[in-house]
């Protein structure tokens, strides 16, 4: 699959602080590519570099095989960090400026995108009268102008209420299904899990891992068991799996298996055949958050 964006050893420092340390990855065409990481991990810096707002100290990037250029950016719908509009202008007049600079879309497209983000009724209101969520929706409308095939969203659900968040997720899934490539920075794991096909995880400017979401954020199976003598139970199940942990406080033993491989009946039989009757047996999914914390070391 062709790469829409290729990053090659991108580094960026702010004085002594190294914001990005030689980050390289490829974004395949048609992917919803999540850039995931805690606050301060370098997500926005990375997006700012590919949109020419910041200059990289080292490294290069290519959009569809070509170095970044104004003409490339015109074809990309982008929302970076905060919604940036002229406060004294209405929604419609702000989008006219977006349209004039990017050349994307027509006057009738402005109405269409405003309807799509539910701002059509407020199209003549000044930007400075908008709530945070409305500002965010206007920024998404600007990015959607002219239906660009590539979209860059930095924290797209920032400031939105639960209904707004769900709508934006729906929109992203809709865009993905219609063949758009979306590059999206987020610190919300749930968001990434629900909409992204691929992801890269950053920690303090370093790329920890990248690939398909299914591969990266594997949510392991955890079997939770207990018996009257939990210490003896723990010694026994260690013969079954090296990934067993004893929680002495709760008198529980946790055994971790790769996703989809835990078999409760086998665990139960094994214990019973070795003289221990279980009084508690439960299959739990390892939470995505826990996996993320493992990766980022938080």
């Amino acid at each position: 699959m062709a790469s829409v964006l290729s990053l090659n050893q991108i580094s960026k420092s702010y004085g002594p602080v190294k914001a990005l340390k030689g980050v390289s990855f490829d974004v395949p065409e048609g992917a919803v590519f999540g850039i995931l990481g805690p606050n301060g991990s370098g997500k926005t810096t990375l997006l700012s570099i590919i949109l020419d707002v910041l200059k990289a100290d080292h490294g290069s990037f290519f959009w569809l095989g070509n170095p970044g250029s104004p003409d490339q950016r015109k074809k990309i719908g982008s929302l970076l960090e905060t919604p940036n509009f002229y406060h004294y202008l209405s929604a419609i007049n702000n989008l006219k400026i977006t349209q004039s600079i990017s050349g994307r879309g027509t006057a009738s497209d402005i109405d269409e995108v405003l309807k799509k983000v539910r701002l059509f009724e407020r199209r003549k209101s000044r930007f400075n009268t908008f709530s945070l969520g409305m500002k965010q929706r206007l920024a998404i409308a600007a990015a959607l102008m002219g239906d660009p095939k590539v979209l860059v969203f930095d924290e797209p659900t920032n400031g939105l209420d639960p209904v707004g968040i769900a709508e934006i997720r729906e929109l992203i899934i809709e865009l993905r299904n219609s063949g758009h490539t979306i590059i999206m920075a987020s610190h919300l794991l749930d968001e990434v899990e629900k909409v992204c096909t691929h992801a890269a995880i950053l920690r303090t400017g370093e790329l920890l891992t990248t690939g398909e979401v299914e591969e990266i954020l594997v949510d392991d199976d955890v079997v939770e068991i207990s018996a009257t003598d939990s210490a003896r139970l723990f010694e026994l199940v260690r013969q079954l799996s090296g990934n067993a942990v004893l929680d002495q406080k709760l008198n529980l033993v946790h055994i971790t298996f790769p996703k989809g491989t835990a078999k409760l009946d086998e665990v139960n039989r094994f214990c019973f055949q070795n003289g221990i009757a279980l009084n508690h047996l439960l299959l739990k999914k390892k939470r995505l958050e826990a996996r993320f914390f493992e990766l980022t070391g938080n």
């Binding site: 949109l51 020419d52 950016r73 002229y86 406060h87 004039s100 600079i101």
Partner: protein, 270 residues
Amino acid sequence: MINLLKTEWLKIKKYPAFWWIIGVTALSYPGINYIFHSIYDNMLHRNNQTARITKALIGNPFAFPEAWHTVAYFSSFFVFIPAVVVIMLVTNEYNYKTHRQNIIDGWSRSQYTTSKFIDVLLVSLLITILYILVSMIIGYTNSEGAPDTWSLSYYTALFALQTLSQLSIAFLIGFLVKRAFIALGVFIFYFLIFENILVGVGKRYANDIGRFLPLEISDRLIPVPAFLGKFDKESYDRALAAINAHIFYTIILTAIIWLICFRVNNKRDL
């Protein structure tokens, strides 16, 4: 270029503060000239010896062709009003972070700086049109018979160049400082006080070195009106003779200012 102009027009045409300040400028230019004209009128309409001597000495600085010169000189005191507009137009972009959005949406950094140069040109053009209107009205209402209307109309070009240069300095301050109030404070303090002190000190102690200070370079495009020149004929003739050199200095300075803006904007993080 047309696209840049069109986009800047979209930003300006519905910006109330812009039109308010242009309105204030539109009142201040005729206002200051009217005040000096009234003072002159009051002095000459007294039926006494002083009035007769004054009239014989200074003639009518508000009649053609000298009206072009007189109006340009008095109007140039008020360049700090359109400078407010220029500083607001550039600092607004930082305040709203639209200087980044314009690049994200597809302008090159040079196109962005060119668009700001267009803003400064537009404001300079508006101010020059205003100056022409005031000069024509004052000139026609004060001239009798068949006046020599156009011989000093070249002051229009000098006024336009001076305005462009001084507004470019205001732009540079806004561009580097990024904050509207600080930039305005720096410009107005420098324009009204600091440079005047430096020029005065330079004249007294350093062979008039102050003529090369940023605002003074273009201030000397428009020397004092002829009637004031009569009080010190030698200095006045020197000032007239220096205009050509100052046209050259002003063009060089203005070019350097914009080169700095282009270079800084192309290199720095936004």
